[in-house]
Structure formats: structure tokens, C-alpha cells
Amino acid sequence: MKKILLVISIIMLTGCVSTVEPWEKGRFAKAEMQFEPDTMDAAFKRHVYFSKEASSGGTSTSGGGCGCN
């Protein structure tokens, strides 16, 4: 699984890299193109999954914990 995703990422990197001029960056200003379009929602979901699963982290540092069971 990990290998497949790694290969896909590499393929995308090699096939699709091209120079982007500063005036061509319009799409990246859109809310839907942000890494976290809704930071409140993302923070809350991180909290839920941190409490209910063994894994945590990945795209942000851990912050404080909770006594959530």
C-alpha cells in the first residue's frame, strides 16, 4: 500500500512539474485549494481521532492531550 502511494506521488512529481509564474497562482488563493480550508473543523477532527484511535500527528504537532476515553 505504502509502495503504491509512493510510486503514485513520484509519477505525479515527474510528470507534472512545470514553472508557475506569480500571476498564474490564482487557484492557490481559493479556499478549496488550501491544505486546511476549515481550520476549526480540522482541529476538531484531529482531537476526535486522537482520542479514539492509536495514531496521532502527521500534519501538525501534537499540542496538549486530554483525558478522553
Binding site: 514553472t19 509564474e21 500571476w23 490564482g26
Partner: protein
């Protein structure tokens, strides 16, 4: 792996454009740009000698442009057409996006349709980027981004250029 030949070609092309890009103290490039309304005549950037020229590159998605437009409206009202010519060059990929922006943020100044050629000639680092050009067609200042400080500085620079005459 990445096609190195293509990368090198891109780099050389980019460097070539860089060599052509204008800096302060250099004349404004001799480029003609279509007016916002196609019916209106095109404007040649070098043909505007005799007045101070303020060129602003903008796009609908540029957040500080929402503030730079009211500022340019203020400039338009403050200085006469003989003293200051304002040209706002649009860099939107889709005109519809620019039209939507203009509905919410109207412009009292001249709008032009931009293209990759003019943006590369000026080598703009981002949007908005504004250039102040004196009556002899020489670029005297460049402002990237927009805030109160750059607005104040722009007015100071325009006053200085007007006083020089």
C-alpha cells in the same frame, strides 16, 4: 526522473526573460495592451510620455487588491488626468473572474487586459505589483503588495515627481 533537458531549456528561457526584465532607472517596455473593453483603442505603454504613469498589475484572486483599488480611486480623484495616468493591468486567466471582482470593487481608472508577455517583461514577483514611471518614461519605483505604508510612500513619490517639474 525529471526530464533534465526540459528543465535546462526552461531555465535558459527563464534567464533570457530575466535579462529582458526591467529595473528601476530603465525605460518602461514598449508594449501595447488591449483596453478592457475591446471596442476601446489599445494603449502603448511607451506612448504616455509627458505625464507620470502608475502601472498596477492585479487579479481577482489577489487579496490586497481589494484595498489597492480604493487607493487607486483616491489617486484618480486627487490628481488630474494631465498630471497622473493610472493603468491597471489585469492578469486573470478567466475574464469572468475579473468582471465579478470589478462589480464589487469598481475602478475609476483605466483597465487593461494583461498577458504573460507584459508580466514577464516587468518580471513581476507577485500580485499586486505597482510601478511608478516619470514623465520621461523611466521606472522610478516598484511596490510589491499593498498596505498603508506603501500607499503613503507612493503619494510621497508622486508629489516629489510633480514638484520636479
Amino acid at each position: 526522473m525529471i526530464n533534465f533537458r526540459r528543465v535546462i531549456l526552461l531555465v535558459i528561457t527563464f534567464m533570457a526573460f530575466n535579462a529582458m526584465a526591467v529595473n528601476r532607472g530603465e525605460p518602461v517596455p514598449a508594449l501595447e495592451l488591449a483596453a478592457w473593453q475591446d471596442a476601446n483603442p489599445a494603449i502603448n505603454l511607451q506612448g504616455l510620455h509627458g505625464k507620470i504613469l502608475y502601472i498596477d498589475f492585479w487579479a481577482s484572486w489577489c487579496v490586497p487588491c481589494k484595498k489597492s483599488f480604493p487607493f487607486m480611486n483616491t489617486l484618480r480623484e486627487k490628481y488630474s488626468a494631465e498630471e497622473l495616468q493610472i493603468l491597471a493591468i489585469n492578469m486573470d486567466e478567466y475574464r469572468a473572474d475579473a468582471e465579478k471582482f470589478l462589480k464589487n470593487t469598481p475602478a475609476l481608472f483605466t483597465l487593461l487586459q494583461g498577458n504573460a508577455e507584459v508580466a514577464k517583461a516587468f518580471d513581476i514577483p507577485g500580485l499586486p505589483t505597482a510601478y511608478l514611471i516619470d514623465i520621461n518614461g523611466m521606472i522610478v519605483a516598484r511596490h510589491t503588495g499593498f498596505n498603508k505604508k506603501s500607499a503613503k510612500k507612493t503619494i510621497q513619490q508622486i508629489e516629489f515627481l510633480l514638484a520636479k517639474d
